[in-house]
């Protein structure tokens, strides 16, 4: 679209340029820039209070940004009210209209668009087929539907208007675990089939990583990192992101020289992914628990340790190792052999490809990180 007022960088389904929002003088979001490609699934992950919901409300048009521009489908929507943005939203509590049946809820958006009755009926039924609501359930009011059914109706209601963008505000948070796992599979399949660009907000890292083509980390009102889930997980930009995405051993560097890196607690690393000059004291190295393996004494990058605690977690077995004065390492014990009991001595080997030098410190004003 070449009309005036379009965002210069057309082609992105959603584009944020330096978006900021302040409430009562205090910044809630600052300088958020983001591009979401058409048809992709973008997860926005962050702790509660980090500004996720505010960002979603800005995109939906329920709040006006105090700085920056917003574009949807190549069109500048910064000054448009929600009803003119063509965005479908699934609210955390679904926000289904209690006085309308499931069918009435789904038909609402089409009625507002003055879609003729016959076509409306056809599209409503087709969408309810897609989300898998039975015929009997379609006449029921939301209060007579289960949480999972309500979620499906909310999704159908948001999708039936064929939105340029689908916003999901923790839509799985209110469901029990089993249903959540089933529904997120369905959600992903539905998104693939409809190819609707989706912005998904969650504080559940597993959900964010599983569903997303790309994931953004939002904390303290700033977008800390954007990338593919695997990339952000293995190569976090700062310690906060490392801890947010999973169990993380963050090992501070005590000294670095040509013959290796010494970590706090006297641990030595001779094989490193980067040239020795890249490492400097004060930086931290990330080692995920699943990156370690049992080793043999004398191997390079191998440390003796003593098991402090041994946790059976079902699919995984995680042991906490005391590997030096004041240094505890969490390690996923490989399946196959019996895991060591507390008090046992073990050797732990660290392959260089499991190490990641965290390039940046947490930005100013961040809390100590997620607990």
């Amino acid at each position: 679209m070449g009309e005036p007022g379009t965002v210069p960088c057309a082609g992105a389904a959603l584009e944020l340029e330096g978006v900021g929002f302040a409430f009562g003088g205090a910044p809630v979001l600052s300088g958020v820039s983001l591009r979401v490609e058409p048809g992709s699934f973008f997860s926005l992950l962050g702790p509660s209070g980090g500004g996720k919901t505010t960002l979603l409300r800005l995109v939906g048009g329920y709040l006006a940004p105090s700085a920056g521009r917003l574009g949807i489908g190549g069109r500048d929507v910064t000054d448009l009210p929600p009803e003119r943005r063509n965005v479908g939203m699934v609210f955390q509590n679904y926000a289904l209209f209690p006085h309308l049946s499931a069918r009435g809820n789904v038909a609402f958006g089409l009625e507002m668009r003055q879609v003729p009755r016959r076509e409306r009926g056809r599209r409503v039924e087709a969408m309810l087929d897609r989300v898998g609501l039975t015929a009997a359930e379609r006449d029921r009011r939301p209060s007579r539907l289960s949480g999972g059914q309500q979620q499906r109706v909310a999704l159908a209601r948001a999708l039936v208007i064929e939105p340029a963008l689908l916003l999901l505000d923790e839509p799985l948070a209110n469901l029990d675990r089993q249903l959540r796992e089933q529904l997120r599979g369905e959600l992903k399949a539905l998104q693939r089939r409809t190819e609707v660009t989706t912005l998904f907000v969650t504080h559940d890292r597993e959900e964010a990583l599983l569903l997303a083509d790309r994931v953004g980390i939002l904390a303290a009102g700033r977008l800390l990192q954007v990338g593919e889930p695997r990339d952000v997980y293995h190569r976090p930009r700062c310690p906060f992101v490392a801890r947010l995405l999973g169990d993380a051993n963050l090992l501070p560097i005590a000294s670095a020289g040509p013959d290796g890196v010494f970590l706090a607690g006297g641990l030595r690393l001779t094989r490193l992914p980067d040239p020795p000059g890249a490492y400097a004291p004060g930086q931290r190295i990330l080692l995920r628990p699943e990156g370690c393996r049992p080793g043999a004494a004398g191997e390079p990058n191998c440390w003796p340790g003593r098991v402090v605690a041994s946790h059976f977690l079902g699919a995984d077995h995680v042991v906490a190792l005391d590997v030096g004065p004041g240094v505890t390492l969490r390690m996923r014990w490989p399946s196959g052999g019996p895991p060591p009991a507390a008090g046992e001595a073990v050797q732990v080997a660290v392959p260089p490809e499991a190490l990641w030098l965290i390039p940046e410190d947490d930005p100013e004003g961040m809390a100590d990180g997620p607990s």
């Binding site: 939203m89 209209f97 009011r141």
Partner: protein
């Protein structure tokens, strides 16, 4: 299994205070009223002739063209005032509901505050406000009206007075009803393409119908028994049943006739409330199930 209450009949004792209260302060006076309405009117002395039984008081009422006028006026007046109260209260409640919390509390206090003063004080204030030389007429004159408008001792006065007295109850009920509507529903409606007006019409209005029904019912009961407004701000034309009870019993010393009017008024309450309940059910589609978990 025997329910615990079957095993021990003494639990019925717990009902005694409530039953006693109802009997002494509600059923007793009602029966007394009914009995008085069936006495023959008093001669030169006393309130009525004890020991007599007659339906003459009722027969007198219904053959009396004046009473029929009073009855008709009362019903129309109540309906009109209720409609006016609902419209004004709904607009006011929507406004108050839209305010930020602090201003909302202030506005609600302002609505309730007049109720802390005696009703008579409030009505005297209204009389001064609406009088020929009062601020309202001064304003109208300043706006270019030729002469003062008569706003007391007529129908306008009675309606304004009664509406003013009944407004706070309806406003309170409606603000509560609007507060129960999840704001996310309006956001959802807007996101689905509804204009602010469309969201109001399709979401806020239907979801506040139960509140409107409750406010209407309460207002209607009060308006049917309208007394102070018509008496002090209306003229002789604006005689409601309650005013008529007062005239018969207190001014004319005709207790049996007054009691008969009162019984008719109570019958009007019962009939209107029943009709209202049916109307309210129709308005909310007779299905309140969605309210249960709202």
């Amino acid at each position: 299994m025997v329910p615990p209450e079957r095993r021990n009949p003494w639990h019925l004792l717990l009902l005694v205070p409530a039953v006693l209260l109802l009997a002494v302060f509600f059923a007793g006076p009602m029966l007394l009223l009914l009995r008085v309405s069936l006495f023959a009117p008093a001669g030169s002395r006393g309130f009525y002739q004890p020991g007599t039984w007659t339906i003459g008081n009722y027969a007198g009422l219904f053959t009396d063209g004046y009473f029929r006028e009073v009855l008709t006026f009362t019903l129309l007046f109540a309906a009109g005032v209720t409609l006016l109260v609902l419209v004004v209260a709904y607009l006011l409640a929507l406004f108050i509901h839209s305010l930020p919390p602090r201003q909302k509390a202030l506005a609600l206090a302002a609505v309730v505050l007049p109720k802390l003063a005696s009703m008579l004080v409030a009505v005297c204030g209204l009389q001064a406000l609406l009088s020929g030389a009062g601020p309202v007429n001064e304003l109208l004159l300043a706006l270019g009206r030729a002469g003062p408008v008569q706003l007391t001792r007529n129908l306008a006065g009675a309606v304004i007075g009664e509406t003013y007295l009944l407004l706070p109850y309806a406003v309170l009920l409606l603000v509560v009803a609007l507060g129960r509507i999840d704001p996310a529903l309006l956001a959802a409606a807007r996101g689905l393409g509804a204009s602010p007006w469309g969201a109001f019409r399709r979401v806020t209005l239907p979801l506040s119908l139960p509140g409107l029904a409750a406010a209407g019912q309460l207002t209607l009961v009060w308006a049917l028994g309208a007394f102070v407004g018509p008496l002090l701000l209306g003229g002789p034309e604006e005689t409601t049943l309650a005013v008529e009870v007062h005239r018969q019993a207190v001014e004319n010393n005709r207790w049996p006739a007054g009691a008969a009017v009162a019984v008719v008024l109570i019958a009007a309450f019962v009939l209107t409330l029943t009709a209202w309940a049916a109307l309210a059910r129709a308005l909310t589609w007779g299905k309140r199930s969605w309210k249960a978990d709202a």
